[in-house]
């Protein structure tokens, strides 16, 4: 646990000093909103369409972060150092997933208000707590699967290709659940204040299963 915290702190400090990943993710999300505006040719959107645009944008922006997650470790020999240290290897999974989670939260803190400003028609006020809950659960899935996929992809030759190609199908159930749970919250007129429980349940189930799975298999990805 302490090892995980140390690695997490190292990752966050690295990100704060280089400002490499998160600003790129945020910029990517903003540009994607603009692209969606012109692609859909609408001044504002609502309901399921808005939820879909938001989730897809966040997913692709997250893909950028996922691709970069282990690159520093690989280039600077962080893997070898970590393997030499007498610590539990699962700490790496925990730390990297937590770092990715933090990146995603920062991304959303900027991207969701921007989404409201640029694209969303109905006001967000009453639906906000529900939306935060949905995104928090969705981030968990993204962080866990993202770390796993990133750890697989980083040692391959075509890692920028392999990451998204494996990651997107694996994340599809999370995307479906997040988009469907957020849909009613963003509806025009009487928007629901609470997300549908069924979808939250599926999202939570997905998170739990893949978290356990990642915990079980992650050791083998670091052995060398």
């Amino acid at each position: 646990m302490r090892t995980a915290l140390v690695v997490l702190r190292k990752d966050l400090r690295l990100e704060l000093r280089t400002l490499e990943t998160v600003p790129a993710m945020v910029l990517f999300a903003l540009v994607t909103f603009v692209i969606f505006h012109f692609g859909l040719n609408r001044p504002s959107i609502a309901g399921q369409l808005a939820a879909g645009v938001l989730t897809v944008t966040l997913l692709f922006a997250a893909m950028l972060g996922i691709n970069r997650l282990f690159v520093a470790e690989r280039e600077q020999g962080g893997f070898d150092a970590f393997l030499l240290a007498p610590v539990d290897r699962t700490a790496m999974l925990l730390a990297k997933a937590a770092a990715l989670y933090v990146f995603l939260v920062v991304l959303e803190v900027i991207a969701v208000p921007a989404f409201k400003l640029f694209l969303l028609g109905p006001s967000l006020g009453r639906a906000l707590p529900g939306l935060i809950l949905v995104l928090a659960l969705g981030n968990l899935g993204l962080a866990v699967i993202g770390t796993l996929v990133s750890a697989i992809a980083v040692h391959t030759r075509a890692r920028d290709l392999i990451g998204p190609v494996i990651g997107l199908p694996l994340l599809l159930p999370a995307l479906i659940a997040t988009a469907r749970a957020a849909g009613p919250l963003l509806a025009a007129g009487h928007a629901a204040t609470a997300p549908p429980g069924r979808w939250l349940l599926i999202l939570a189930l997905y998170d739990v299963v893949f978290a356990l799975l990642a915990y079980a298999v992650f050791d083998f990805l670091l052995e060398d």
């Binding site: 796993l148 697989i152 040692h155 391959t156 030759r157 075509a158 890692r159 290709l161 392999i162 190609v165 494996i166 199908p169 694996l170 599809l172 159930p173 479906i176 659940a177 469907r180 069924r198 979808w199 599926i202 189930l205 997905y206 299963v209 893949f210 799975l213 079980a216 298999v217 083998f220 990805l221 052995e223 060398d224």
Partner: protein
């Protein structure tokens, strides 16, 4: 296999509403079921590799997934033909079985590119095993998410309450399923035998002719 085909063509009654086309059911459904089972089977075999570190388990898992992929594509094509005949469209989106099957197929289509892009053979088998396990667990989860997201149009032939088929059709279906299972297992064993034989021939040639005269194995997706 021949018995199953004979039953399909001569014994099973023609479907009242769909006529002759319904016969494809006896080919398409076993193909699809076996392909999904093959992916899960590959995941289970991959656990064997990670537990023992024995390369033969990895080869078994590879062959299982390889075969399942072929069965899956055949199942998708036969299903598409059937869908065209009975629903009037080659592809329908509001259909959980179809869509979740496509997603699983897309995921496992990345299995071979992943293997290809890792050079070190041992790391290749380890990463492929991790991928196979995650993919195997993904199959049921994905099905839950997609089936929640869409309405049903597939004929619910095999529900939890039992098969809703007239006995003669039921018998034919069971025989066809059995025949395809045997086909899958036979192909699997055959491929395994071929791979083992090839490895043995290489080893013999190397001892007989000396190390230099035998070309090294090129980079390959298949474990050797």
């Amino acid at each position: 296999m021949a018995a199953a085909l004979a039953l399909v063509f001569f014994y099973a009654p023609l479907d009242a509403s769909q006529g002759f086309v319904q016969k494809i059911f006896y080919i398409h459904v076993p193909l699809a079921i076996l392909s999904l089972c093959g992916f899960v089977f590959g995941g289970v075999l991959a656990i064997g590799y990670l537990r023992t570190g024995d390369r033969r388990w990895d080869m078994r898992s590879y062959v299982a997934i390889h075969m399942a992929l072929i069965f899956g594509i055949a199942g998708l094509i036969s299903g598409s033909i059937w869908a065209k005949a009975s629903w009037g469209h080659w592809w329908v989106w509001n259909e959980p079985t179809l869509v979740s099957f496509l997603i699983v197929l897309l995921l496992f289509a990345t299995y071979q590119p992943l293997r290809f892009s890792i050079e070190d053979p041992e790391r290749q088998s380890r990463y492929a095993s991790v991928f196979a396990i995650v993919g195997g667990a993904f199959v049921p989860l994905n099905y839950i998410a997609v089936s929640e997201a869409t309405a049903y149009v597939h004929p619910r032939v095999l529900t939890l309450g039992g098969a809703h088929l007239p006995p003669s059709m039921g018998l034919t279906f069971v025989v066809a399923l059995l025949a395809f299972t045997l086909l899958y297992l036979t192909l699997w064993k055959y491929e395994m035998a071929a791979k083992n034989a090839r490895a043995q021939v290489r080893r013999l040639r190397r001892t007989l002719l000396g190390d230099d005269s035998v070309r090294p194995v090129g980079r390959s997706a298949a474990p050797s």
